[in-house]
Amino acid sequence: MSQTPISISVRGIKKIFGTNPALNGVTLEFSSGVMHGVIGSEGAGKSTLLRIILGLLKPSEGTVEFRRGGERVDFEEIRPSLAYMPQQQSLYPDLSIGEHLDFFKELYGIPGDLYQQKRGELLHITRLGDFVRRPAGQLSGGMYKKLGLMCALLRSPRVMLLDEPTNGVDPISRREFWELLYRLLDQEILILVTTAYMDEAERCGRVHLMERGKVVAEGEPRELLEGQKVRTFDELFLRRGGGSE
Protein backbone atom coordinates (compact mmCIF):
# COMPACT_ATOMS: atom_id res chain seq x y z
CA MET A 1 0.00 0.00 0.00
CA SER A 2 1.36 3.37 -0.98
CA GLN A 3 1.90 5.70 1.96
CA THR A 4 2.89 8.71 -0.11
CA PRO A 5 1.53 11.90 1.41
CA ILE A 6 -1.26 13.58 -0.50
CA SER A 7 -2.22 17.23 -0.40
CA ILE A 8 -4.87 19.46 -1.91
CA SER A 9 -4.42 23.18 -2.53
CA VAL A 10 -7.48 25.29 -3.05
CA ARG A 11 -6.58 28.76 -4.33
CA GLY A 12 -8.77 31.80 -4.72
CA ILE A 13 -11.93 29.85 -5.39
CA LYS A 14 -15.04 31.83 -6.23
CA LYS A 15 -18.33 30.26 -7.14
CA ILE A 16 -21.26 32.37 -8.12
CA PHE A 17 -24.75 30.92 -8.52
CA GLY A 18 -26.78 33.49 -10.44
CA THR A 19 -25.82 36.67 -8.63
CA ASN A 20 -25.20 34.94 -5.35
CA PRO A 21 -21.56 34.20 -4.43
CA ALA A 22 -21.54 30.83 -2.62
CA LEU A 23 -17.76 30.99 -2.33
CA ASN A 24 -16.04 34.31 -2.34
CA GLY A 25 -12.29 33.80 -2.60
CA VAL A 26 -11.40 30.66 -0.65
CA THR A 27 -7.77 29.58 -0.23
CA LEU A 28 -7.09 26.43 1.79
CA GLU A 29 -4.44 23.73 2.17
CA PHE A 30 -5.32 20.18 3.09
CA SER A 31 -2.76 17.48 3.74
CA SER A 32 -2.83 13.80 4.61
CA GLY A 33 -2.26 12.72 8.18
CA VAL A 34 -4.22 15.69 9.56
CA MET A 35 -7.92 15.64 10.33
CA HIS A 36 -9.33 18.68 8.56
CA GLY A 37 -12.65 19.98 9.81
CA VAL A 38 -14.58 22.52 7.79
CA ILE A 39 -17.23 24.11 9.95
CA GLY A 40 -19.68 26.93 9.46
CA SER A 41 -23.35 27.69 9.45
CA GLU A 42 -25.74 26.58 6.79
CA GLY A 43 -25.05 28.42 3.55
CA ALA A 44 -21.44 29.16 4.51
CA GLY A 45 -20.30 27.29 1.39
CA LYS A 46 -18.98 24.03 2.86
CA SER A 47 -20.75 21.62 0.53
CA THR A 48 -20.03 23.79 -2.51
CA LEU A 49 -16.35 23.72 -1.58
CA LEU A 50 -16.39 19.92 -1.38
CA ARG A 51 -18.13 19.64 -4.73
CA ILE A 52 -15.57 21.91 -6.35
CA ILE A 53 -12.68 19.87 -4.95
CA LEU A 54 -14.34 16.78 -6.37
CA GLY A 55 -14.69 18.33 -9.79
CA LEU A 56 -18.47 18.04 -9.64
CA LEU A 57 -18.79 21.80 -9.93
CA LYS A 58 -16.58 24.17 -11.88
CA PRO A 59 -15.40 27.19 -9.94
CA SER A 60 -16.12 30.63 -11.40
CA GLU A 61 -12.54 31.55 -10.48
CA GLY A 62 -9.56 29.87 -8.87
CA THR A 63 -7.83 26.48 -8.96
CA VAL A 64 -7.70 23.17 -7.12
CA GLU A 65 -4.40 21.25 -7.20
CA PHE A 66 -3.65 17.73 -6.04
CA ARG A 67 -0.18 16.60 -4.97
CA ARG A 68 1.19 13.17 -4.24
CA GLY A 69 4.59 13.05 -2.57
CA GLY A 70 5.00 16.73 -3.45
CA GLU A 71 4.45 16.08 -7.18
CA ARG A 72 1.49 17.64 -8.84
CA VAL A 73 -0.94 15.02 -10.19
CA ASP A 74 -4.14 15.16 -12.19
CA PHE A 75 -7.44 14.71 -10.42
CA GLU A 76 -7.99 11.60 -12.54
CA GLU A 77 -5.06 9.91 -10.80
CA ILE A 78 -6.53 10.58 -7.39
CA ARG A 79 -10.08 9.71 -8.33
CA PRO A 80 -9.85 5.91 -7.94
CA SER A 81 -8.72 6.27 -4.33
CA LEU A 82 -11.20 8.94 -3.40
CA ALA A 83 -14.29 8.51 -1.26
CA TYR A 84 -17.03 11.09 -1.09
CA MET A 85 -19.96 10.97 1.26
CA PRO A 86 -22.52 13.61 0.33
CA GLN A 87 -25.12 14.85 2.79
CA GLN A 88 -27.91 13.40 0.71
CA GLN A 89 -26.77 9.94 -0.21
CA SER A 90 -28.32 7.88 -2.93
CA LEU A 91 -28.39 4.24 -1.96
CA TYR A 92 -30.69 1.61 -3.40
CA PRO A 93 -33.88 1.41 -1.31
CA ASP A 94 -34.60 -2.18 -2.43
CA LEU A 95 -31.16 -3.55 -1.64
CA SER A 96 -30.34 -4.70 1.86
CA ILE A 97 -27.24 -3.65 3.77
CA GLY A 98 -25.52 -6.92 2.86
CA GLU A 99 -26.46 -6.56 -0.80
CA HIS A 100 -25.06 -3.04 -0.88
CA LEU A 101 -21.73 -4.26 0.44
CA ASP A 102 -21.66 -7.11 -2.06
CA PHE A 103 -22.54 -4.75 -4.86
CA PHE A 104 -19.78 -2.29 -4.00
CA LYS A 105 -17.29 -5.12 -3.59
CA GLU A 106 -17.95 -6.09 -7.22
CA LEU A 107 -17.94 -2.50 -8.37
CA TYR A 108 -14.57 -1.78 -6.77
CA GLY A 109 -13.16 -5.25 -7.57
CA ILE A 110 -12.19 -6.04 -3.98
CA PRO A 111 -10.65 -9.51 -3.48
CA GLY A 112 -12.79 -11.98 -1.51
CA ASP A 113 -10.58 -12.37 1.58
CA LEU A 114 -10.00 -8.69 2.00
CA TYR A 115 -13.70 -8.08 1.49
CA GLN A 116 -14.75 -10.54 4.19
CA GLN A 117 -12.36 -8.95 6.65
CA LYS A 118 -13.45 -5.38 5.83
CA ARG A 119 -17.10 -6.31 5.87
CA GLY A 120 -16.83 -7.84 9.32
CA GLU A 121 -14.87 -4.87 10.62
CA LEU A 122 -17.28 -2.31 9.21
CA LEU A 123 -20.40 -4.11 10.42
CA HIS A 124 -18.86 -4.29 13.87
CA ILE A 125 -17.95 -0.62 14.02
CA THR A 126 -21.30 0.53 12.72
CA ARG A 127 -23.23 -1.99 14.84
CA LEU A 128 -25.26 -2.94 11.82
CA GLY A 129 -24.46 -6.65 12.03
CA ASP A 130 -28.01 -7.48 13.12
CA PHE A 131 -29.49 -5.56 10.24
CA VAL A 132 -27.66 -6.95 7.19
CA ARG A 133 -30.93 -8.15 5.66
CA ARG A 134 -32.82 -4.91 6.13
CA PRO A 135 -33.43 -2.96 2.90
CA ALA A 136 -31.88 0.53 2.80
CA GLY A 137 -35.33 2.03 2.26
CA GLN A 138 -36.33 0.88 5.74
CA LEU A 139 -33.29 2.09 7.66
CA SER A 140 -33.39 4.95 10.12
CA GLY A 141 -31.57 8.14 9.18
CA GLY A 142 -28.50 7.27 11.20
CA MET A 143 -28.33 3.70 9.94
CA TYR A 144 -28.63 4.92 6.37
CA LYS A 145 -25.67 7.25 6.98
CA LYS A 146 -23.64 4.40 8.37
CA LEU A 147 -24.40 2.25 5.35
CA GLY A 148 -23.21 5.04 3.05
CA LEU A 149 -20.05 5.30 5.07
CA MET A 150 -19.43 1.56 4.90
CA CYS A 151 -19.79 1.61 1.13
CA ALA A 152 -17.30 4.48 0.96
CA LEU A 153 -14.77 2.75 3.21
CA LEU A 154 -14.88 -0.62 1.46
CA ARG A 155 -12.39 0.46 -1.17
CA SER A 156 -9.74 1.69 1.33
CA PRO A 157 -9.68 5.27 0.08
CA ARG A 158 -6.64 7.58 0.34
CA VAL A 159 -8.69 10.77 0.20
CA MET A 160 -11.99 11.07 2.04
CA LEU A 161 -14.37 13.98 1.70
CA LEU A 162 -17.17 13.58 4.19
CA ASP A 163 -20.07 16.01 4.25
CA GLU A 164 -21.66 15.86 7.70
CA PRO A 165 -21.12 12.12 7.96
CA THR A 166 -22.39 11.74 11.53
CA ASN A 167 -25.56 13.69 11.24
CA GLY A 168 -28.37 11.68 12.84
CA VAL A 169 -25.93 9.05 14.08
CA ASP A 170 -26.22 8.06 17.75
CA PRO A 171 -23.55 9.17 20.27
CA ILE A 172 -21.83 5.80 20.53
CA SER A 173 -21.56 5.16 16.82
CA ARG A 174 -20.45 8.74 16.39
CA ARG A 175 -17.50 8.12 18.72
CA GLU A 176 -16.66 4.85 17.05
CA PHE A 177 -16.82 6.53 13.72
CA TRP A 178 -14.28 9.14 14.89
CA GLU A 179 -12.02 6.49 16.25
CA LEU A 180 -12.14 4.81 12.90
CA LEU A 181 -11.23 8.08 11.21
CA TYR A 182 -8.27 8.50 13.54
CA ARG A 183 -7.05 5.02 12.79
CA LEU A 184 -7.25 5.78 9.07
CA LEU A 185 -5.37 8.99 9.60
CA ASP A 186 -2.32 7.06 10.77
CA GLN A 187 -2.14 5.54 7.28
CA GLU A 188 -1.45 8.91 5.62
CA ILE A 189 -5.00 9.36 4.47
CA LEU A 190 -6.34 12.80 3.69
CA ILE A 191 -9.57 13.41 5.56
CA LEU A 192 -11.75 16.43 5.16
CA VAL A 193 -14.93 16.45 7.17
CA THR A 194 -17.73 18.95 7.66
CA THR A 195 -19.73 18.77 10.83
CA ALA A 196 -22.46 20.48 12.80
CA TYR A 197 -21.32 18.79 16.03
CA MET A 198 -19.02 21.20 17.78
CA ASP A 199 -17.37 18.53 19.92
CA GLU A 200 -16.33 16.86 16.67
CA ALA A 201 -14.86 20.12 15.44
CA GLU A 202 -12.69 20.18 18.56
CA ARG A 203 -11.39 16.73 17.71
CA CYS A 204 -10.03 17.80 14.33
CA GLY A 205 -6.35 18.46 13.82
CA ARG A 206 -7.09 21.65 11.94
CA VAL A 207 -10.33 23.56 11.82
CA HIS A 208 -11.34 25.88 9.01
CA LEU A 209 -14.21 28.14 9.97
CA MET A 210 -16.29 29.41 7.05
CA GLU A 211 -18.80 32.24 6.99
CA ARG A 212 -20.67 33.49 3.93
CA GLY A 213 -18.35 31.92 1.39
CA LYS A 214 -15.11 32.90 3.12
CA VAL A 215 -12.65 31.30 5.47
CA VAL A 216 -12.75 33.56 8.54
CA ALA A 217 -10.50 31.63 10.89
CA GLU A 218 -8.39 28.50 10.83
CA GLY A 219 -5.92 26.64 12.93
CA GLU A 220 -5.42 23.95 15.50
CA PRO A 221 -8.65 23.88 17.59
CA ARG A 222 -7.15 24.98 20.89
CA GLU A 223 -5.22 27.80 19.22
CA LEU A 224 -8.28 28.89 17.34
CA LEU A 225 -10.50 28.91 20.43
CA GLU A 226 -7.89 30.80 22.44
CA GLY A 227 -7.57 33.31 19.62
CA GLN A 228 -11.32 33.87 19.68
CA LYS A 229 -11.35 33.89 23.51
CA VAL A 230 -13.90 31.09 23.93
CA ARG A 231 -13.72 27.69 25.57
CA THR A 232 -15.66 25.57 23.08
CA PHE A 233 -16.83 25.76 19.48
CA ASP A 234 -20.42 25.84 20.68
CA GLU A 235 -19.64 29.12 22.43
CA LEU A 236 -17.83 30.39 19.36
CA PHE A 237 -20.81 29.60 17.15
CA LEU A 238 -23.38 31.13 19.43
CA ARG A 239 -21.29 34.24 19.90
CA ARG A 240 -20.69 34.79 16.21
CA GLY A 241 -24.37 34.15 15.53
CA GLY A 242 -23.38 31.33 13.20
CA GLY A 243 -26.31 29.51 11.73
CA SER A 244 -28.61 32.49 11.95
CA GLU A 245 -30.96 32.48 9.04
Binding site: R127, G141, M143, P171, G242
Partner: protein
Amino acid sequence: MNFFSGEVVAVSEAAVEVKDLTVRFNNFIAVDRISFSVHPGEIFGFLGANGAGKTTTIRVLCGLLYPTDGYVRVAGVSLDDGERAIKSKVGYMSQKFTLYDDLTVEENLSFTASLHKLDLKTYVERRQELFDFIAFDRPIHDFVRDLPGGTKQQISLAAALLHNPEIIFLDEPTAGVTPVARNRFWSLIRKLSERGKTVFVTTHYMDEAEQCDRIALMREGKIIALDTPGGLKRSAFPVPMLEFDPKESLSFAEVSEMRQDRVFLFFEPYGLRFHAAVRSEKEWEEVRPKFEQKFNVRQIKPSLEDVFIQMVEGKTG
Protein backbone atom coordinates in the same frame (compact mmCIF):
# COMPACT_ATOMS: atom_id res chain seq x y z
CA MET B 1 -60.35 31.18 19.62
CA ASN B 2 -56.82 30.49 20.59
CA PHE B 3 -55.16 27.66 18.77
CA PHE B 4 -53.34 26.45 21.82
CA SER B 5 -56.31 26.38 24.14
CA GLY B 6 -57.84 23.20 22.81
CA GLU B 7 -59.53 20.71 25.06
CA VAL B 8 -57.25 19.73 27.87
CA VAL B 9 -56.77 16.07 28.74
CA ALA B 10 -57.96 15.26 32.23
CA VAL B 11 -54.96 15.64 34.52
CA SER B 12 -55.38 12.22 36.03
CA GLU B 13 -55.01 10.50 32.69
CA ALA B 14 -51.65 9.80 31.09
CA ALA B 15 -51.09 11.36 27.66
CA VAL B 16 -49.49 8.13 26.51
CA GLU B 17 -49.82 4.78 28.16
CA VAL B 18 -47.95 1.75 26.90
CA LYS B 19 -48.05 -1.70 28.42
CA ASP B 20 -46.05 -4.71 27.23
CA LEU B 21 -45.78 -3.35 23.72
CA THR B 22 -44.10 -5.73 21.28
CA VAL B 23 -43.48 -5.27 17.57
CA ARG B 24 -42.03 -8.09 15.57
CA PHE B 25 -41.05 -8.02 11.89
CA ASN B 26 -40.78 -11.68 10.86
CA ASN B 27 -38.07 -12.97 13.19
CA PHE B 28 -36.79 -9.56 14.19
CA ILE B 29 -38.04 -8.14 17.47
CA ALA B 30 -37.95 -4.37 17.00
CA VAL B 31 -39.77 -3.55 20.25
CA ASP B 32 -39.63 -6.02 23.10
CA ARG B 33 -42.36 -5.74 25.76
CA ILE B 34 -41.92 -2.14 26.76
CA SER B 35 -44.13 -0.34 29.27
CA PHE B 36 -44.17 3.35 30.17
CA SER B 37 -46.43 6.33 30.46
CA VAL B 38 -46.07 9.99 29.54
CA HIS B 39 -47.71 12.76 31.56
CA PRO B 40 -49.79 15.47 29.88
CA GLY B 41 -47.70 18.55 29.10
CA GLU B 42 -44.46 16.69 29.59
CA ILE B 43 -41.41 16.88 27.31
CA PHE B 44 -40.61 13.21 27.04
CA GLY B 45 -37.30 12.27 25.47
CA PHE B 46 -36.82 8.95 23.75
CA LEU B 47 -33.17 8.06 23.32
CA GLY B 48 -31.28 5.08 22.00
CA ALA B 49 -28.79 3.94 19.43
CA ASN B 50 -29.82 3.79 15.78
CA GLY B 51 -32.02 0.75 15.36
CA ALA B 52 -32.97 0.49 19.04
CA GLY B 53 -36.69 0.64 18.18
CA LYS B 54 -37.53 4.30 18.77
CA THR B 55 -39.13 5.06 15.42
CA THR B 56 -41.05 1.78 15.45
CA THR B 57 -42.53 2.69 18.84
CA ILE B 58 -43.47 6.15 17.61
CA ARG B 59 -45.14 4.68 14.56
CA VAL B 60 -47.33 2.54 16.78
CA LEU B 61 -48.20 5.50 19.01
CA CYS B 62 -49.22 7.55 15.98
CA GLY B 63 -51.52 4.82 14.73
CA LEU B 64 -49.32 4.08 11.70
CA LEU B 65 -48.33 0.56 12.68
CA TYR B 66 -50.34 -2.11 14.45
CA PRO B 67 -48.30 -3.82 17.17
CA THR B 68 -47.74 -7.55 17.47
CA ASP B 69 -48.79 -7.43 21.09
CA GLY B 70 -49.48 -5.08 23.98
CA TYR B 71 -51.71 -2.26 25.05
CA VAL B 72 -51.43 1.33 23.86
CA ARG B 73 -53.53 4.33 24.78
CA VAL B 74 -52.77 7.75 23.35
CA ALA B 75 -54.69 10.88 24.43
CA GLY B 76 -57.37 8.67 25.88
CA VAL B 77 -57.84 6.73 22.65
CA SER B 78 -56.86 3.13 22.16
CA LEU B 79 -55.71 1.55 18.90
CA ASP B 80 -58.96 -0.38 18.73
CA ASP B 81 -60.95 2.84 18.47
CA GLY B 82 -59.86 2.97 14.83
CA GLU B 83 -56.71 4.48 13.43
CA ARG B 84 -58.30 7.82 12.58
CA ALA B 85 -59.17 8.33 16.23
CA ILE B 86 -55.50 8.41 17.24
CA LYS B 87 -54.38 10.32 14.17
CA SER B 88 -56.68 13.23 14.98
CA LYS B 89 -55.14 13.54 18.45
CA VAL B 90 -51.48 13.38 17.52
CA GLY B 91 -49.10 15.33 15.33
CA TYR B 92 -46.07 13.62 13.83
CA MET B 93 -42.92 15.12 12.41
CA SER B 94 -40.83 12.32 10.97
CA GLN B 95 -37.07 12.08 10.48
CA LYS B 96 -37.32 12.88 6.84
CA PHE B 97 -38.79 16.32 6.30
CA THR B 98 -42.47 15.85 5.76
CA LEU B 99 -42.87 18.69 3.31
CA TYR B 100 -43.10 18.72 -0.47
CA ASP B 101 -40.13 20.57 -1.91
CA ASP B 102 -42.02 21.40 -5.10
CA LEU B 103 -44.88 23.07 -3.27
CA THR B 104 -44.86 26.48 -1.64
CA VAL B 105 -45.15 26.97 2.11
CA GLU B 106 -48.81 27.88 1.70
CA GLU B 107 -49.53 24.89 -0.58
CA ASN B 108 -47.88 22.50 1.83
CA LEU B 109 -49.92 23.77 4.75
CA SER B 110 -53.22 23.93 2.89
CA PHE B 111 -52.65 20.41 1.62
CA THR B 112 -52.03 19.20 5.17
CA ALA B 113 -55.14 21.09 6.33
CA SER B 114 -57.24 19.37 3.69
CA LEU B 115 -55.98 15.96 4.81
CA HIS B 116 -57.25 16.83 8.27
CA LYS B 117 -60.48 18.19 6.77
CA LEU B 118 -60.09 21.62 8.35
CA ASP B 119 -62.48 24.27 7.00
CA LEU B 120 -60.94 27.27 5.31
CA LYS B 121 -61.63 29.72 8.13
CA THR B 122 -60.10 27.47 10.79
CA TYR B 123 -57.14 26.72 8.54
CA VAL B 124 -56.36 30.38 7.88
CA GLU B 125 -56.66 31.25 11.57
CA ARG B 126 -54.44 28.41 12.69
CA ARG B 127 -51.91 29.09 10.01
CA GLN B 128 -51.56 32.67 11.25
CA GLU B 129 -51.25 31.53 14.86
CA LEU B 130 -48.59 29.06 13.90
CA PHE B 131 -46.70 31.60 11.79
CA ASP B 132 -46.71 33.89 14.83
CA PHE B 133 -45.60 31.00 17.00
CA ILE B 134 -42.60 30.09 14.86
CA ALA B 135 -41.97 33.75 13.95
CA PHE B 136 -42.15 33.00 10.24
CA ASP B 137 -41.58 36.18 8.29
CA ARG B 138 -40.92 35.05 4.72
CA PRO B 139 -43.35 35.18 1.79
CA ILE B 140 -45.75 32.25 2.11
CA HIS B 141 -45.48 31.61 -1.62
CA ASP B 142 -41.80 30.69 -1.36
CA PHE B 143 -41.03 27.17 -2.48
CA VAL B 144 -40.08 24.89 0.36
CA ARG B 145 -36.97 23.77 -1.53
CA ASP B 146 -35.62 27.34 -1.32
CA LEU B 147 -35.92 27.57 2.47
CA PRO B 148 -32.94 27.12 4.78
CA GLY B 149 -32.99 23.86 6.73
CA GLY B 150 -33.91 25.52 10.02
CA THR B 151 -36.93 27.26 8.49
CA LYS B 152 -38.06 24.08 6.72
CA GLN B 153 -37.95 22.31 10.01
CA GLN B 154 -40.13 24.95 11.66
CA ILE B 155 -42.66 24.78 8.82
CA SER B 156 -42.70 20.98 9.26
CA LEU B 157 -43.52 21.57 12.90
CA ALA B 158 -46.29 23.98 11.97
CA ALA B 159 -47.71 21.39 9.57
CA ALA B 160 -47.68 18.77 12.30
CA LEU B 161 -49.51 21.16 14.66
CA LEU B 162 -52.09 22.40 12.18
CA HIS B 163 -54.93 20.17 13.38
CA ASN B 164 -54.28 21.14 17.00
CA PRO B 165 -53.15 17.75 18.30
CA GLU B 166 -52.81 17.11 22.03
CA ILE B 167 -49.58 15.24 21.61
CA ILE B 168 -46.80 15.93 19.19
CA PHE B 169 -44.27 13.27 18.18
CA LEU B 170 -40.98 14.64 16.91
CA ASP B 171 -38.62 12.04 15.48
CA GLU B 172 -35.12 13.55 15.31
CA PRO B 173 -36.53 16.95 14.41
CA THR B 174 -33.17 18.72 14.56
CA ALA B 175 -30.94 16.33 12.63
CA GLY B 176 -28.73 18.36 10.34
CA VAL B 177 -29.53 21.90 11.35
CA THR B 178 -27.08 24.37 12.86
CA PRO B 179 -26.63 24.88 16.62
CA VAL B 180 -28.48 28.19 16.49
CA ALA B 181 -31.44 26.71 14.63
CA ARG B 182 -31.49 23.81 17.11
CA ASN B 183 -31.66 26.25 20.03
CA ARG B 184 -34.50 28.11 18.42
CA PHE B 185 -36.39 24.87 17.75
CA TRP B 186 -36.05 23.83 21.37
CA SER B 187 -37.41 27.11 22.59
CA LEU B 188 -40.50 26.27 20.50
CA ILE B 189 -40.68 22.83 22.09
CA ARG B 190 -40.59 24.39 25.57
CA LYS B 191 -43.32 26.84 24.62
CA LEU B 192 -45.51 23.99 23.37
CA SER B 193 -45.07 22.21 26.67
CA GLU B 194 -45.84 25.39 28.64
CA ARG B 195 -49.07 25.66 26.68
CA GLY B 196 -50.10 22.20 27.73
CA LYS B 197 -49.06 20.14 24.72
CA THR B 198 -47.34 16.85 25.36
CA VAL B 199 -44.08 16.57 23.42
CA PHE B 200 -42.55 13.19 22.65
CA VAL B 201 -39.16 13.68 21.06
CA THR B 202 -36.19 11.62 19.87
CA THR B 203 -32.77 13.13 19.34
CA HIS B 204 -29.13 12.19 19.07
CA TYR B 205 -28.06 15.54 20.47
CA MET B 206 -27.54 15.02 24.17
CA ASP B 207 -27.58 18.76 24.94
CA GLU B 208 -31.16 18.68 23.69
CA ALA B 209 -32.02 15.67 25.80
CA GLU B 210 -30.99 17.68 28.88
CA GLN B 211 -34.05 19.84 28.28
CA CYS B 212 -36.52 16.96 28.57
CA ASP B 213 -38.57 16.47 31.74
CA ARG B 214 -38.01 12.72 31.60
CA ILE B 215 -36.09 10.41 29.34
CA ALA B 216 -36.55 6.80 28.33
CA LEU B 217 -33.40 5.10 27.13
CA MET B 218 -33.87 2.24 24.68
CA ARG B 219 -31.49 -0.52 23.77
CA GLU B 220 -32.25 -3.43 21.46
CA GLY B 221 -36.00 -3.00 21.68
CA LYS B 222 -36.13 -2.63 25.47
CA ILE B 223 -36.32 0.37 27.77
CA ILE B 224 -33.23 0.11 29.95
CA ALA B 225 -33.78 3.29 31.99
CA LEU B 226 -36.48 5.89 32.51
CA ASP B 227 -35.94 8.91 34.71
CA THR B 228 -35.33 12.65 34.82
CA PRO B 229 -31.98 13.76 33.35
CA GLY B 230 -30.67 14.26 36.89
CA GLY B 231 -31.90 10.86 38.02
CA LEU B 232 -30.25 9.13 35.08
CA LYS B 233 -26.96 10.82 35.87
CA ARG B 234 -27.08 9.79 39.50
CA SER B 235 -27.77 6.16 38.69
CA ALA B 236 -25.24 5.92 35.84
CA PHE B 237 -22.46 7.62 37.81
CA PRO B 238 -22.63 7.21 41.56
CA VAL B 239 -18.96 8.25 41.58
CA PRO B 240 -17.80 11.82 40.84
CA MET B 241 -17.00 12.65 37.24
CA LEU B 242 -13.76 14.34 36.29
CA GLU B 243 -12.82 16.44 33.32
CA PHE B 244 -9.31 16.01 31.95
CA ASP B 245 -8.11 19.01 30.01
CA PRO B 246 -4.80 18.11 28.33
CA LYS B 247 -2.02 20.67 28.79
CA GLU B 248 -0.66 19.59 25.42
CA SER B 249 -2.21 17.74 22.49
CA LEU B 250 -2.25 13.99 22.87
CA SER B 251 -1.70 11.43 20.17
CA PHE B 252 -4.37 8.89 19.41
CA ALA B 253 -2.12 6.18 20.85
CA GLU B 254 -1.73 8.03 24.16
CA VAL B 255 -5.49 8.41 24.44
CA SER B 256 -6.08 4.74 23.69
CA GLU B 257 -3.57 3.83 26.39
CA MET B 258 -5.30 6.00 28.98
CA ARG B 259 -8.64 4.44 28.19
CA GLN B 260 -7.17 1.08 29.09
CA ASP B 261 -5.95 2.31 32.50
CA ARG B 262 -7.81 0.29 35.07
CA VAL B 263 -8.25 3.19 37.47
CA PHE B 264 -10.98 4.42 35.10
CA LEU B 265 -14.47 3.06 34.97
CA PHE B 266 -15.15 5.42 32.12
CA PHE B 267 -12.86 7.53 29.96
CA GLU B 268 -14.29 9.21 26.88
CA PRO B 269 -13.13 12.01 24.62
CA TYR B 270 -15.25 15.13 24.67
CA GLY B 271 -14.06 17.55 22.06
CA LEU B 272 -10.62 18.68 23.19
CA ARG B 273 -11.16 17.29 26.68
CA PHE B 274 -12.02 13.99 28.32
CA HIS B 275 -14.66 12.90 30.78
CA ALA B 276 -13.65 10.21 33.25
CA ALA B 277 -15.11 8.31 36.16
CA VAL B 278 -12.76 6.46 38.48
CA ARG B 279 -13.38 3.09 40.08
CA SER B 280 -12.51 4.27 43.56
CA GLU B 281 -11.42 7.52 45.15
CA LYS B 282 -8.58 5.78 46.94
CA GLU B 283 -7.02 4.35 43.80
CA TRP B 284 -7.45 7.66 42.08
CA GLU B 285 -5.67 9.66 44.79
CA GLU B 286 -2.63 7.38 44.36
CA VAL B 287 -2.25 8.02 40.63
CA ARG B 288 -3.58 11.56 40.59
CA PRO B 289 -0.18 13.35 40.61
CA LYS B 290 0.91 11.36 37.56
CA PHE B 291 -2.11 12.53 35.56
CA GLU B 292 -1.91 16.08 36.81
CA GLN B 293 1.42 16.51 35.09
CA LYS B 294 -0.31 16.18 31.75
CA PHE B 295 -3.83 17.39 32.51
CA ASN B 296 -5.76 20.02 34.36
CA VAL B 297 -8.25 17.90 36.25
CA ARG B 298 -11.47 19.21 37.76
CA GLN B 299 -14.69 17.72 38.99
CA ILE B 300 -17.73 18.19 36.76
CA LYS B 301 -21.30 16.99 36.49
CA PRO B 302 -21.70 14.13 34.04
CA SER B 303 -23.40 15.05 30.79
CA LEU B 304 -26.22 13.01 29.30
CA GLU B 305 -23.81 11.93 26.59
CA ASP B 306 -21.73 10.27 29.31
CA VAL B 307 -24.89 8.64 30.64
CA PHE B 308 -25.89 7.43 27.22
CA ILE B 309 -22.50 5.86 26.58
CA GLN B 310 -22.28 4.31 30.01
CA MET B 311 -25.80 2.89 30.00
CA VAL B 312 -26.08 1.76 26.42
CA GLU B 313 -22.51 0.62 26.07
CA GLY B 314 -21.55 -0.36 29.60
CA LYS B 315 -23.92 -3.22 30.13
CA THR B 316 -23.50 -5.01 26.83
CA GLY B 317 -23.05 -8.74 26.77
